[in-house]
């Protein structure tokens, strides 16, 4: 067939608008930082903890911690990288606390019939829950990369800038992230208990 594809130069998928943001950040106010990042950070935290109220509390903690640490921040460090790092740590602390009181939304999985064939775990606990749980169990740096790519629609270059890593590293991060996500998701889908779950019930 007559395919005369026009070959086009490729840039990062979302263009270079991100560059303009870099400039803006240097003169941003606290309010501006909040307005700019509230949705991505809240969304990220929400899918880590799976609870609206708690996600708001943790979002508040994340921004306050960030504001407090700004004067000490290395000027070469990206604000977004810093925010995600603090958000990750804040959410992890909360998850750890939650484990101490032995509650995780998916713990009932163990009470499902032994015959996995007859009980579709996706129907039992929902795909969203499985996805969130697999995300939680992934190594944080890989998760952030995969999250920025899929939920925020960032290009490799933007992920590199956001996480403060080399662009060549993003390829590796995303590759490991997808392998890791697959491993955790498959295990959850099959109802195989994971180490994290044991802790959760202890």
């Amino acid at each position: 067939m007559g395919n005369s594809a026009v070959t086009l130069p490729r840039s990062d998928r979302r263009g270079n608008y991100h560059m303009a943001m870099v400039e803006l950040e240097s003169t941003w106010s606290f309010e501006r930082i909040y307005d700019e990042f509230k949705t991505p950070i809240y969304n990220y935290i929400y899918h880590m903890v799976g609870d609206r109220e708690q996600a708001e509390d943790l979002t508040q903690d994340t921004f306050l911690k960030t504001f407090k640490s700004l004067p000490k921040m290395d000027a070469s460090l990206k604000l977004s990288a810093w925010l995600y790092k603090i958000a990750t740590n804040t959410a992890y602390d909360a998850l750890r606390r939650r484990k101490l009181i032995s509650w995780l939304p998916w713990q009932d999985l163990e009470h499902e019939p032994a015959d996995v064939e007859s009980a579709d775990p996706q129907e039992t606990i929902g795909t969203t829950e499985l996805v969130q749980q697999a995300l939680r169990q992934m190594p944080p740096t890989y998760r952030e990369a995969l999250w920025l790519y899929t939920q925020e629609g960032y290009s490799y270059a933007e992920i590199a800038r956001t996480l403060g890593i080399a662009e060549s590293g993003v390829k590796m991060y995303l590759s490991r992230a997808r392998q890791s996500f697959r491993e955790h998701y498959r295990a959850l889908e099959a109802g195989v208990p994971q180490p994290a779950k044991k802790q959760a019930r202890s």
């Binding site: 003169t27 106010s29 509230k38 969203t128 498959r186």
Partner: protein
Amino acid sequence: MRWRPVSPSQRKSKPGRDDRLPGCGNKGGGALFARESDSEACATQKTMNCEWIEDHLSAYKDHELDAAANDQVATHLVGCVKCHASLDEYIRFDRLLTELPRMTPRPELRARIFSSPEFRAILSERNGHGVSKAPASHQLPSLRSPALVTRALIGVTVILLLLASAGVVLRSLAAHPTTTCPSPTTGEHVLTRSADGALVLGAQRFPCAQHTQATDLWQVSPNGQWIAYIAAHTGDIHTVRANGQGDHVFHAAGVSSTATIALVWSHKSQKLLAVTRDQADGAYSVTFWAADPAGAATASALTFMMATPDIIGPVWSPDDLAVAYAFTHTGIAPSANVLNYAAIPTSAIEASTPLPWSTASSGSWSFASTISAFSWTSGTQIALTAALATTTALTSLVTINPDPRAAPLTYTPRNGPITAAAFDATGNRWAVALSDGTLLTFNPLTQHTTSLAHLNAVSSLTWSPDGQHLIARSNATLWWLDNAPARRLAANAGPVAPAWQADSSTVAYVDGSQVMVATLTGEEHQVKTDATLVKGLIWSPGGQLIVWGINQAVVVDASGNTAQTISPSPTEAPQWTSVP
């Protein structure tokens, strides 16, 4: 009929083990129909280093490999079922992640943070004195860095796409919030446009008492919570919540003799694409305005030149990051068709100030053929129904990889031209009817076909939203097809398309002079008589059905009880809104 039901144990995959990967199966095509014929390509699995491929598969999926590595992976994938299945899984997982609901914090959180004692303490520490009251704006001079400024100076790359001369113009829209209105009650309401051009919600003119006249392009978002319309007297694009609040006006400054030709909400209802058309010097330009009414109500625009006034689409990609559209190109190469797609960056329109942006990812293909329909697959590929050999009969199904280096895949059924074809909601499966009576499904990602049935003279196919059931129209008969034996619904079906309820449990259709509903549980009953002049059937998510007729529009429930009558009947199909 050749139906081969799939038993639950056959359907169920066994996750967590590599050997669960489908041998040469109907990968990615769902579990509804069993496969009876597959391509022979799956017989060989190359023993080339799968481990190496595994490490590069992720970047391959994202089109981030160099040409050599890309070819190596592509070649390997043709023969390796296991790696192909891995790729499918990555596509599926990316989709699951992309489709997680996007959550936004409540507006109160902002006040909570900036009035908290902790924040006052931070301010006080920064200023070196007492606690500040109601801080307005706090500049952060400490973040300046020469390196950052240097990086900021890197220019914006603009990609243009077209066969001949092409130009890309970036324009921004100003947003002017207007007055707010009293809220309609919570729940589902019918939105129509009256003869004088006013939008009417339930029985009230909308929005509130404004004398807005809308053009016929008004559109409710998929979640029912936003309404977009064009003000007839100004040509401005408006977005307003279904409760009447938050009316934004998008004014296309400096655009002359512009006509808006399409308004398309993204799947998640967060973005609105408005396509405007302008003619100058015999060429047409199409401008895409991407707006985020829930955010800061800014918009970005992108203009393409083309030699024809008509476009097919645009269609949002499943991840809402790109749109694809096609147009017939009659000027330069005879009967060529071009399919373009462009990425609409989420962040650009969510930013609180307009930012320069470009089509970061864009592509263009030309075909000496007619494109009749297209859809995105769950991945990044675009599937087309096209007439390749003749402009009168549909002959082929084409799948395009947006990577310009990859050649499109073409499937041409041997048993004659296509009489009807329909994509399911994922875009990963066509139902295809051929002129010899063959009915099959086709997976554009794996290029596998599955025979379904033999049914003569099929003129239309309608998938249920969940992709588990299919209504086929054969002459005047409607058939319900799925794993169960085929079910005959109507013997005297009119031209009105059957309508599935959002949960796929019920389908409404016209049989003779009656409107009928058929349920998954096997029931069929009449919900309205006197249906000879019906123009359309429109379900609400909550299960109310609008029977839109020539003389009147009637809202009935699934039992046939009438809840509302709209008379005279609107010219355009009514749409459902939902006030949360």
